[in-house]
Symmetry: none
DNA sequence: TCAACCGGTTATATGGAGGTAACAAACCGG
DNA sequence: CCGGTTTGTTACCTCCATATAACCGGTTGA
């Protein structure tokens, strides 16, 4: 689990980095807005912690930029007494905020909560019905069969479908969740991915039992 | 395994000492800064636990003094709400911190973690299945064969993999654990290290039985 | 009826990840 | 200071996941 932290206060940055590292997160640091955006592009973190007051681009701009490309959870940091900032931050798509000063432990707890909410929680081996997903090993087992190895994208897709087991997920949502950006014009990618995944997990890929199509909307994972 | 504890609160000191003694550590006690430094010089402990607020020299000074002479793991104790202290402590080279109040059990767990990280773990020579690691001697034995000498990095890599035997460990995590910092862009180092280690421990390095790669994720040690 | 659209399939190009080798730099004990 | 070992760096190769494109059949609605 990789976390991007952006704050121009180097001491605070290091303290946060240390705390998260101890909790076995991977940390990517940035001390100003442009660096944060660069780090986001290069490292593709799973979560971002952004200070609002930073030189270069403000936390707002960083938040907006990231949101334009990705749906990862974003937590904003602000100083007490500037609550109106928060409204703007949440408008721009931030998921949570924390008011300085805060204890490292608090930050850690909130980060865990965010990740849990985003369904990215590291440990939990997600499972529903006959589909058992092992995120760490990148494998699925269907009806207790042999583990099937999945690629990164296949795993993401299954994660999303599994999180909404037995319910249709729209193609647009899947595109955003799996690829992070992409306009919904890019359906070809999803078609391909579904096709490949079916060949891996379906007994008869021509008539899918698990990964079914919901015509005109999207796909659903039927787990019984 | 010898542990130095410095805290001016005698009750807490005794509680910690008792806990550690029960866990079969040797304990050296000090109730102020100068005593702590003296004890360090005379007893050469393997790890130090330092309260930040102490009469005489503060925990900071003690930390600095010890760091100037030694690389033993240092854990700082502080009271809740003084997080800025931690920044300074970590700057001075402390390895971990704990906020009072804490449970003895927590302290013990963190101490063990520190020792493990430093490769000083007292407990049983790490082993799982056919892989037996002797951390002191920097050697492995595979299926009871002859001991194989390992370099520092090889040892650490193997330690990490052994600690998660039969489970995939992500490349990013391995990089952080083995090299300590590093941007995760530096996968080449890991590739090389894996390559070298395979040539040492695998019967046929071209088709690894022990140190297997999990494509797109990382590596795992299969010990059966 | 037919054109537009949707979903499935196949084929091919491309880029990144991992393996290997060779070499350079740093380290270390004598 | 020397020689060997360990670690870091660069380059190249291969393979596979992903991206891109084209084609097919079915459905729908003008």
């Amino acid at each position: 689990m990789k976390v991007l932290i952006a704050d121009d206060d180097r001491d605070l940055l290091n303290l946060i980095a240390f705390t998260l590292t101890q909790a076995s997160y991977l940390v990517v640091k940035a001390t100003d807005g442009p660096a944060a955006i660069r780090a986001f592009d290069e490292e593709s973190p799973d979560l971002a912690v952004l200070d609002i007051n930073m030189p270069g681009a403000s936390g707002f701009q960083v938040c907006e930029t990231i949101r334009a490309k990705s749906r990862i959870p974003i937590m904003m940091l602000t100083v007490r007494g500037e609550e109106e900032d928060l409204i703007r931050a949440l408008d721009l798509g931030a998921d949570d905020y924390l008011t300085k000063p805060f204890s490292p432990r608090t930050l850690l707890a909130r980060i865990k909560a965010l990740l849990r909410r985003a369904g990215l929680e590291s440990s939990a081996p997600a499972a529903a019905g006959r589909v058992a997903l092992d995120v760490q090993e990148h494998t699925v087992r269907i009806s207790g069969g042999a583990p099937i190895r999945l690629t990164k994208l296949e795993l993401r897709l299954l994660q999303m479908l599994l999180a909404n087991a037995n319910r249709t997920v729209s193609s647009d949502r899947l595109l955003v969740q799996v690829w992070g950006h992409r306009n919904s014009g890019d359906r070809q990618l999803l078609k391909q991915l579904v096709h490949r995944l079916r060949h891996k997990i379906e007994a008869d890929p021509a008539s899918p039992q698990l990964l079914q199509t919901s015509a005109g909307t999207g796909y659903k994972l039927v787990v019984d």
